[in-house]
Symmetry: C2
Subunit: 151 residues, 2 copies
DNA sequence: TTATATTAGTTGCATAACTAACTATATGTC
DNA sequence: GACATATAGTTAGTTATGCAACTAATATAA
């Protein structure tokens, strides 16, 4: 019997990601309570642009784990809210580089604070060691399912 | 400084749930490759009905971590595919009890097997102890954010 | 240099999520 | 019994997801 055999009844709770969902919902709520009109999905894109502005849509999709269709529409919505602009690359005109606008810049500080607050709420009474194990395991799960595409 | 302070750059990967997403996508793919036409969201509802048939929509929503509007539409779609039927409760006619049809019953075995297969793919080289820590931490994260609704 | 293949992004279609407002049934209080 | 309140479920509106088919631009190969 494999080392990783689950009792069937336990499977769903592992797959379900209820904790992830709960964190996302709480962060969204904290955004809303602070009067921020952005979704956490939009924020996930802004987050990567604050780290490195002017990424291509494809690269943004990779970093936020989305396919290109989802990325297209997320950026459509961000553009509608005037938080980013698309600029065709001069080297390769197939590529759209995505840049933050001045409207987006002041959101960085407040959303970082709200994300920190949310994580503190989520991680009450959970030790640093436990968090490290979780991060490590989830990374390995991700790698198990994506590095080799054997299906 | 709090015990749970994160370096900012690490925040997103924790919130994002990329591992959860990857597992869900792989399970969906495994369903599709086996010729099953159901979504994992639909499967999550069937999963609970196989454990206990005839639950109310609200109870199904609780067990699958959905609000009632989402539950309504999920069951609409399951009904369209003739996998479940709604039966008004005789005791309280506001309540819809949801029952599996004969069409749904043969799906149980094959989807359990595919879920097991998916979890084995996901959890390669991850020890039982690590899995226990992850499950325990995620449960506590969930509890931290839901037991007391202090926002 | 022309034909073919690849790549980045968009669009159509279907499912699903959440909020808020709504309907219908039950319950509680006077 | 009548009126207010609570509860279960539905509907409308918006955003997001994924797949597949498409366009436009670039790269490769003959």
């Amino acid at each position: 019997m494999s080392n990783n055999q689950f009792k069937r009844g336990e499977l769903y709770s592992v797959i379900n990601g209820m904790a992830t969902t709960a964190v996302a919902r709480r962060l969204q709520k904290n955004f809303r309570n602070a009067g921020l009109e952005i979704t956490i999905e939009q924020w996930s894109v802004l987050y990567h642009l604050w780290k490195e502005d002017g990424l291509s849509q494809l690269e943004l999709g990779n970093r936020t784990f989305r396919d290109k269709a989802s990325t297209t529409r997320l950026i459509d919505n961000l553009e509608k809210q005037e938080l980013v602009t698309r600029v065709a690359s001069k080297d390769d005109r197939r590529i759209n580089l995505v840049y933050l606008t001045d409207t987006a810049k002041p959101l960085q500080q407040i959303t970082y604070e709200l994300a920190n607050k949310t994580m503190n709420e989520a991680l009450q009474n959970i030790s640093k060691d436990e968090i490290e194990v979780v991060k490590n395991v989830l990374q390995r799960v991700y790698d198990n399912l994506t590095n080799k595409d054997l299906v």
